[in-house]
């Protein structure tokens, strides 16, 4: 018998396939991942129908939490702030990221250095960003007001001003979040076949024509991905707000996740917080579904 035949699957393997080994190998991952996502997800749903303060036994109150949420002006404001942040952050980070990536996508000196500088803020934690910008935009000691003084413009409240705080947070978000769009676009630009651009330029297309009719269409799938990804990030905004303003001043920067956190872990309304989290999850689900439909249509077109 040739040596190869000896290593044919044993009888156990022939009956069960790789089942015993495979189960051994996937079990830790499956138990931890599903146990810490599906179980809490179902648990949160149950909680959202209950009045619970973590300590005393919870009582079943049906849809009360949801109907209270619908009438809660603070929650409405949190949703509004989240949507404003998203509406500003998503297009600006993608547009800015695309512009920077297009500028960086050439073989000149220091391009690697420029790219590094753009990406470092993204690597930094949101906490570190928030602490740094809290200092820079400190109304008393901050460098932002010092610069305004120099050019003779009145000092601003920035994070202490209810009319400005959310926009300062958008600015911090852009400073760090743009870097992600830049690297994704740079990678995608490098994937565009050189022949495609060359063919277009031989056909006499001008630079603007190439950009509009060759480059941008080739980037569309990546743009859609970034749109979904950045929307997810902004709807889940928390760390930046928590460290800079904690939702203030005058609740002008309370966002949905901060609201969930406050309800659950500051006021101990676990059920109410879970209901608010489900509203957020529903919003995210809508975004994910749009993405899924787009992917399916694209695959159908390719196939």
């Amino acid at each position: 018998m040739p040596a190869a035949a000896e290593r044919r699957p044993s009888r156990l393997q022939r009956v069960f396939g790789d089942t015993p080994t495979a189960w051994l190998w996937v079990t830790p991952a499956v138990v931890i991942i599903l146990g810490l996502s599906l179980v809490p997800m179902a648990w949160a749903l149950l909680l959202s129908f209950q009045k619970s303060d973590f300590v005393t036994p919870s009582t079943w109150i049906g849809l009360d939490n949801y109907s209270r949420l619908a009438d809660d002006p603070t929650f409405a404001a949190a949703v509004r702030h989240t949507l404003i942040y998203t509406a500003a952050f998503v297009p600006l980070s993608i547009g800015g990221g695309l512009a920077i990536a297009l500028a960086l996508n050439r073989r000149i000196r220091f391009v690697g250095f420029y790219r590094t500088l753009v990406v470092v803020p993204y690597i930094m934690s949101a906490t570190a960003q928030a602490v740094l910008f809290s200092f820079m935009f400190d109304s008393q000691f901050g460098v932002a007001n010092a610069l305004l003084d120099q050019v003779g413009i009145a000092r601003q409240g920035f994070l202490q001003d209810p009319g400005q705080a959310l926009w300062v947070i958008v600015l911090i978000g852009l400073w760090s979040g743009m870097g992600f769009c830049v690297i994704i676009y740079l990678a995608a630009l490098q994937d565009i076949p050189r022949e495609l651009v060359e063919a277009a330029s031989i056909d006499g297309a001008r630079r603007r024509g190439i950009l509009l009719h060759v480059v941008l269409p080739a980037l569309r799938p990546v743009t859609v991905f970034l749109f979904v990804w950045q929307t997810f990030q902004s709807l889940q905004l928390f760390d930046l707000v928590f460290v800079t303003t904690r939702g203030g001043p005058l609740q002008s920067t309370t966002v949905v996740v901060l609201y969930v956190w406050q309800q659950a872990f500051e006021f101990f309304n676990a059920g109410y917080g879970a209901a608010a989290a489900y509203v957020l999850a529903f919003g995210l689900l809508v975004v994910a579904l749009v993405w899924g439909i787009y992917q399916r249509r694209r695959e159908a077109r390719v196939a």
Binding site: A4, L34, A103, L117, A146, A274
Partner: protein, 270 residues
Amino acid sequence: MRRPSPWHLVLFPMALVFALPLLWLVVSSFMTNAQINRFPPTIIPDSLHLDGYRYVFRTGEFARWFLNSTIVATVTVVSNLVFCSFAGYAFARMRFRGSRVLLALMLATLVIPFQLTMIPTFLLMKHLGLIDTLGALILPSLVTPFGVFLLRQFFVSIPREIEEAAWIDGCSRLAILLKVVLPLARPALATVAVLTLLVVWNDLTWPLIAINSDTNYTVQLGLATYQGAHRTEWSAVMAGNLLVTLPIVLAFLFAQRTFIRSLTSTAVKG
């Protein structure tokens, strides 16, 4: 000599916008409070000092928080490499009942937002007696669905013939994984390690919920709390901020290619 490209006129100011806050972080951490509190505020200091660093080491437990973050990051990175490799390989190469359903379920968990699960996860950790221990930070990050999926995709792309040769030579499944597949998978493993490190080191939300006593803080939680408690000691706060940020930035600078590949992998596979 070639003339420098005119694009530098655009790129240099652009890069400056990203660099200046970082520069300010470094400079202000070496200023005294007197320099910072001066009116009008200093923009370019005339002298540099270590007062901030002295103050931050006297009043904050940054060394302790560093240790905690390092423990959590090390354990979760190693465990992700181990568990994601095994699970990813099983999903890629082994035929077993339920594998498709399980993989689909794992993928579906990628879109479950953390905010939805955080309240019950807190309750779960409370039942397990892990609240206010590093265990509460480690357990949920031991293995991540994205890591499993990423490695599975990589293993699927390895030509089967390589493994079949080892199989014919009499290697067991385990030996094939350890000696043949994983050495080939180094780039993918590095990606999993980097993404895990970034997420775990930079996280604030979960430590904020799971940890109460300051001896168990991570660097991010420590920094956020420290800033809240020392609002007027800006140079010390910036010194602390720099200490927290430097390791991850240094790691990025040393392994830039790996980091960038890791970040772009979220888009390609997503």
